[in-house]
Amino acid sequence: MKHLNSLPAEECSLWWYIIINIFCLKTNFMEIIQIKKLTKRFPMGKGEFTALKEIDLTFTKGEFAGLIGPSGSGKTTLLNIVGSLDVPTEGEVLVLGKSIGNLNQKDAAQLRKESLGFIFQSYNLLQVHTVYENVEFPLLLLKKSASERRKMVMDALEWVGLTDKEKSKPPQLSGGECQRVAVARAMVKKPSVVLADEPTANLDAKNSHNILKTMLNLNRELNTTFIFATHDEKVISYLRRKIFLLDGQVEKDVIVENPKS
């Protein structure tokens, strides 16, 4: 969309300029995730445990938002439902127009494959695969050609500064490097939304900042929506939107004017 935005007005008719800008504006502020009255309950013993209670949230394209809260506040549960790894007990979650509760296994897998990227606390890299193969994996699922895959993987490794480690295997990498591979894997297919569950929990301060800066750059360059589940202050300082969860409910939803960059 950038090139359309940057067209000088005199080269287009006035009407075209207006239409394009309205379209871009709509795209930028399009609600890509809508959560309505979401409740999630898990069976526990003879009763049930309510992890999320009537959550109402929306996320627009290009957000860099975080779900903040202590353990058991429902951050990961919410992230899992948005990621179509779990389903709501009540309410509705629409991700890119698709209702998570109504998706069958195949459609949910399709949504994850095409539009969602995941970053996990413990990296979840395929241990016996090389860095290159780990990053290549989502593209194999998308049936990209070998040359396309090669280009996209190398681009992704360049974003995270790991081009020299393409043949290494995860056990040969440091924690920071592993998480950078995980970021590259999540970003390689340029998904609409990246869901990061405690991405810096296993990293030291320096690596945490590096990873966060990388993700922030990708968010800016590719306009990808990032949603974090975290209680790490380092992550929180980078967020442009902070959603505080407590006991499965939204306590506060704050837009940050001047986040760390």
Partner: protein
Amino acid sequence: MKLAIKLAYRNLIGAGLRTWLNVIVLSFSFVVIIWMRGVMLGWDHQAKNDMISFEIGGGQYWHEQYDPLDPFSLNESNAKVPDEFSELIKSGDLEPILIVQGTIYPLGRMQSVMVKGINPNQTILKIPTSKLDTVVNAIPAVIGGMTAQSSKLSIGDYVTLRWRDINGTFDAAELVIVDVFYSNVPSAEAGQIYIDIEKLREMMIMPESATIFTFRNSEADWIEVEGWRQKSFKELTKQVDNMIKTKTAGQSVFYFILLLLAMLGIFDTQVLSIFRRQKEIGTYVALGYTRKQVVGLFTVEGTMNSILAAIVGAIYGIPFLAWQANHGFTLPIDASQFGMAMSQTLFPVYSIGLIFTTILIVMITTAVVSYIPSRKIAKMNPTEALRGKLQ
């Protein structure tokens, strides 16, 4: 499927030693099963070939009363050579054999024998009958290795033969052993003495008589002759077939144990994988695999063990199997005591069918064994799997 194969290959190769241990055990099963089945097939071929060469030729006519297992009717189980056979006998395509009962006294011991009168010039059977023409001061006789062993007779030894002629009169004569042959066919060797048919007819006062006729060619035109039963090559080797079938069934237990050992390794690896690789399974699902696809991946991974095993097995198995086919497998115990057509050294025979059937059976079994534990993945909750939480 292509992707599952690609990933399964990467996972297997990446797993290193765990994979290779399974592959080696499985390849061992491949080679041993093929070798053992080859030995059985080789034994079958060898037994039949030896029987054809030394005993049954291309098929036989039996006198209607002839029963090789009934010594009491033996002396009555013969008749004059029918006119219908004259031409075939003249051309050498049919050989008459007269069989009577007798007793020999080697080293003072008494031993019952079947005395077989055979044409010294015959060329249908591999028995060295030409030696029966040897001029000596006793009746020249040829015996098999098994008789030589049991009676402790060797070439040049003399032995007394006693028989009862057509009139029921006992008579005796001195035999000299002019040759000993080895055939691996107990019914051609054990308790059998071969002498010139004309001499035997003379001794028995049974001119022109025969008990059986042996064909040269198994595809010869059979003619119906009254008083004589046709015994085809297939009928005469049926006993060998049955024996091999029984042995093969017995060996199936061994194949089963071998296969079970290999499958146990694969099953164990698969079951362990489901638990150990939960995070990986969760990651596959998070990245866009359906649970069904993950089950497929794990099944392909298990099955690929058998493909790698076939390749590894081929690397060391082909030279081993070829060497065995050339040099044979020598039995550690005396095969002549088994009472069946069996060589001391068995030469395995491998057919394409045998190899492919074995590979196919092992591959199908591996696929099933890999699939059974993988089904558990379908019931896994991906969020729990991602955390690597045991279920």
